[in-house]
C-alpha cells in the first residue's frame, strides 16, 4: 500500500510549478505519485485477474490466495477512489470560489 500513499513532500508541487521544474521529469511530483498509484492499482487488478483465471483453470496454488489478491485489488482501488474524490472535491471548491 506504500506505493499508493502520497508522500508529504509531494503535495507541495500541486501548487504553481516552481522555476526549473520540468513538466515530465518532476521527480516526486504529485502527478507522478498519482500515476504510480494508478499503475499499482492496475497491477493489483491484473494479479487478481490472473489468480481467478488460475482458480478457474484448476492450476492455482490455492483459492484463498486468489481471494486475497482480489481483496488487495479491491482495497487499493477504494483507496485510489478516495484520493480521487478528495481531489475532485478540492477542485470543485476552487471552482466555486468568488472572483
Amino acid at each position: 500500500m506504500d506505493e499508493i500513499a502520497v508522500g508529504k513532500g509531494e503535495i507541495v508541487s500541486l501548487s504553481v510549478p516552481r522555476e526549473g521544474q520540468t513538466k515530465a521529469g518532476s521527480a516526486g511530483g504529485f502527478s507522478d505519485a498519482l500515476f504510480k498509484a494508478v499503475a499499482e492499482v492496475n497491477n493489483l487488478h491484473q494479479n487478481a485477474d490472473k489468480a481467478i483465471q488460475g482458480v478457474q483453470a484448476g492450476h492455482a496454488d490455492s483459492l484463498h490466495e486468489a481471494i486475497i489478491a482480489l481483496e488487495k485489488a479491491d482495497v487499493s482501488f477504494r483507496t485510489m477512489l478516495t484520493v480521487r474524490n478528495k481531489l475532485i472535491e478540492a477542485y470543485q471548491e476552487i471552482m466555486r470560489m468568488q472572483v
Binding site: M1, D2, S62, H64, E65, I68, E71, K72, V75, R78, T79, T82
Partner: protein
C-alpha cells in the same frame, strides 16, 4: 503494519490450516489402508508448523515480532501400527493378524475441528483487517 503485510500473514495462516486439514483428511481416508507404495500399512501423519519472520515495513517495535507461519514438517508415526485379528483379510499373516494403521478417528475429527476453527479465525482476522482499512478511508467524510 501495512495492509499487504497483514494479508501476507493471514494468507500464510490460511495455507497452514489447509495443509493441516489435508493431513487429517489423508489420515481419515486411509484409516483401513494396509498397502502403501513404501510397503506395509499406512502410517498416521502429523504436521508441525514453524513461525517465520515477515519482511515488511514495520516500525522498530514491531520488527521481528510479527511472524507468519509455514509448514515445517509432516512426520509419519513410526510405530503407528496395530495388529487386528481378521483371518479373512487378504493381508492377514499366518496367525490371522492384519497390520492396520493405528489411527484414532475421534482424535482426527478433533484435529479437523481445530484446523477448521483456526481457519475461520484467520478469515475473521482478514475481514476485520479489511473493514478497519475501509473505515480508515471513511475518515473525514
Amino acid at each position: 503494519m501495512d495492509l499487504i503485510t497483514s494479508f501476507k500473514v493471514i494468507g500464510s495462516g490460511l495455507a497452514a490450516q489447509r495443509a493441516k486439514l489435508d493431513v487429517v483428511t489423508s489420515n481419515l481416508a486411509n484409516v483401513n489402508t494396509t498397502r502403501t507404495p513404501e510397503g506395509g500399512p499406512y502410517r498416521k501423519k502429523s504436521i508441525a508448523f514453524a513461525a517465520e519472520n515477515v519482511e515488511g515495513n514495520f516500525d522498530s517495535t514491531m520488527k521481528g515480532i510479527v511472524k507468519s507461519v509455514k509448514v515445517d514438517e509432516v512426520r509419519e508415526d513410526p510405530n503407528g501400527i496395530k495388529m487386528v485379528y481378521d483371518p479373512a483379510h487378504p493381508d492377514a499373516d499366518a496367525k490371522g493378524f492384519v497390520a492396520m494403521p493405528d489411527i484414532n478417528v475421534m482424535v482426527e475429527m478433533a484435529d479437523m475441528i481445530a484446523a477448521s476453527r483456526a481457519y475461520e479465525a484467520c478469515v475473521t482476522a482478514f475481514d476485520s483487517t479489511k473493514s478497519m482499512t475501509l473505515k480508515t478511508l471513511e475518515m473525514g467524510r
